[in-house]
């Protein structure tokens, strides 16, 4: 008999697996965590994977000829394999471990960028990029004289695809864009944009920091050349991220940082780099964290990433409805269908910091500021915004608490 693959999504059962969600923020006040776009909370299985590694298998990897080294190496490379499968990479050799999405983008800019880009070459970015997909390119542009252009964002918070087509006619060498905006929540049409970029002869980097934790991502299907994401936003530990690269491109790239592990042979007159992906992993890596990210992937697979997305759609739709009832609230970003679990807003006459501070009094954690998207805030002519972001453990009751909190903010300010 064929077993049903449908998994039941029970948010209360999921919440039980996140120890932090039962803590009190202030005496008698439970945590309402609406800041998962900044970093997600960690399930017990991930925390236990870290403890288990340090209690039973801790060792350096790849060269030790002893039992612990063997176990640690195996666990580390097994994690790589499961992460590769999770994002649809053709082989684990396409998964390079980094510290986070930021380091992944810096790796591309430094290793591929320096070797392949010439003065005057165009790198096409967008107006909704996180600073992590802007500053590495600004730095490289300053050094070698690149030309940078930005795909505009429409008033409804989407990329202007007509303008994108026009900009592609200028012949960019690389198009680098965010899959899901961390401020607007916009889910960009990554597959379509990648096809268009390839037709124009450009390579494609996608910043997946806000997509891999929340949506089914298949890098082979998307046909992207490079993909970057962080472990800590997807139930994993901090200090571990992934740089995905098409194998042939990784093979052709020079190394990023030099040191141990990234070499095959070192002599007094030079060195030979290791094979991919280790060529890009100089020094002792974040071993426990990679194993922890493997456990996070197991956890998400167990829940079902489609279920995560579906749950977040319900929460986001509910939040959009409820927040629009609050007087003076302006919401940024597109309609529900084109949006991940992020809702950024401003309140008339009240600074986002004051909103967040008053919410914090009730244990509600939101983010206030520019969320590392200063140019995007400039584009919408606001200095800052309040952002509520959701994950698989959030509930509609928590959104009710947020809305209640916003009414309190209005009361305090008597507006």
């Amino acid at each position: 008999m064929v077993q049903s693959q449908v998994k039941v999504f029970d948010v209360e059962r999921i919440r039980e697996q996140f120890p932090i969600l039962s803590r009190e923020v202030y005496p008698g006040t439970r945590l309402v965590y609406l800041d998962s776009a900044a970093t997600s909370q960690k399930p017990r299985s991930v925390i236990e994977a870290l403890v288990d590694f340090y209690e039973h298998h801790n060792s350096n990897i790849h060269r030790g000829i002893h039992k612990l080294a063997e176990e640690a190496t195996q666990a580390h490379e097994d994690a790589r394999q499961r992460i590769a499968e999770f994002i649809g990479a053709r082989t684990a050799r396409e998964v390079v471990f980094t510290r986070n999405a930021t380091e992944s983008i810096n790796l591309l800019a430094n290793a591929w960028g320096r070797a392949n880009l010439k003065p005057g070459d165009l790198v096409l970015l967008t107006e909704m990029e996180h600073h992590s997909n802007l500053v590495p390119w600004y730095m490289l542009a300053e050094e070698i004289g690149l030309h940078l252009e930005f795909v505009p964002v429409t008033d409804e918070g989407k990329l202007d695809l007509e303008a994108y087509r026009t900009l592609l006619e200028e012949g960019p060498r690389l198009v680098a864009f965010v899959h899901v905006s961390n401020m607007l929540g916009t889910i960009n049409p990554a597959a379509q944009m990648t096809d268009l970029a390839h037709e124009a002869g450009a390579l494609v980097l996608v910043d997946g920091a806000q997509s891999v934790p929340h949506l089914a991502v298949d890098v082979s299907e998307l046909d992207v050349d490079f993909y970057a994401f962080s472990g800590h936003k997807m139930c994993g530990p901090t200090g571990i991220g992934v740089f995905y690269g098409r194998e042939s491109l990784l093979e052709a790239m020079p190394p990023f940082m030099g040191g141990g592990d990234m070499i095959r042979r070192v002599r007094f007159d030079g060195f030979m780099p290791n094979d991919v992906p280790w060529k890009f992993e100089a020094g002792t890596p974040a071993i426990a964290q990679a194993i922890g990210l493997g456990a996070a992937v197991d956890f998400l697979n167990d829940v079902g990433i489609e279920n995560v997305h579906a749950h977040e759609q319900v929460l986001t739709g509910y939040a959009l409805d409820r927040l629009s009832e609050v007087p003076g609230v302006t919401i940024y970003g597109p309609e529900l269908d084109a949006r991940g679990g992020v809702v950024s807003f401003t309140m008339e006459g009240i600074h986002p910091h004051d909103v967040a501070q008053i919410l914090d009094h009730d244990g509600i954690a939101v983010r206030a500021g520019h969320h590392c998207t200063m140019p995007l805030h400039e584009r919408f002519q606001i200095p800052a915004s309040v952002r509520a972001s959701f994950y698989l453990y959030n509930t509609t009751e928590e959104i009710d608490q947020l809305v209640e909190g916003l009414h309190k903010v209005i009361e305090v300010f008597d507006i």
């Binding site: 600074h351 986002p352 004051d354 501070q357 500021g369 200095p383």
Partner: protein, 132 residues
């Protein structure tokens, strides 16, 4: 929270007494806190004895930064520049009369930073106000 947002703070935020600009002025300086987008400018007029005769500020920011700017600017009218140079972090917190956590301290002290930059010149300021 009730403490942080006590009546005086909200009142000063919504109805600042010292908001405005002075043209001409003897001293003027503007600075921002890029992290939260707060921006404050302070204009001063002084007499022949370096005593502040008029002061005003413009800017945008959160309740804490606007209220502290309003209170600070009000407090310096009639003071000599030497006295203003002696103002420190604690003076501003005393005026606000609230406990400010480490993250919001930058909001509370933006106006002091601007004021000191104005009367000292820019270079010495970073040493002058350490937030930690």
């Amino acid at each position: 929270m009730e403490d942080l947002y006590r009546e005086q703070i909200i009142d000063r935020y919504k109805n600042p007494r010292m908001r405005g600009s002075l043209d001409p002025h003897d001293f003027s300086y503007e600075d921002d806190n890029p992290l939260c987008g707060d921006r404050i400018r302070i204009d001063l007029r002084v007499d022949g004895e370096d005593r502040v005769t008029e002061a005003a500020f413009t800017g945008t920011g959160c309740a804490i930064s606007i209220a502290s700017a309003d209170l600070l600017v009000e407090s310096i009218v009639g003071k000599k520049l030497d006295e203003i140079r002696k103002l420190d972090k604690q003076d501003v917190l005393d005026m606000l009369g609230i406990e400010v956590g480490p993250i919001r301290l930058k909001c509370a002290l933006l106006s002091l930073k601007v004021l000191k930059a104005s009367v000292y010149g820019l270079d010495t300021i970073e040493d002058e106000i350490t937030l930690e």
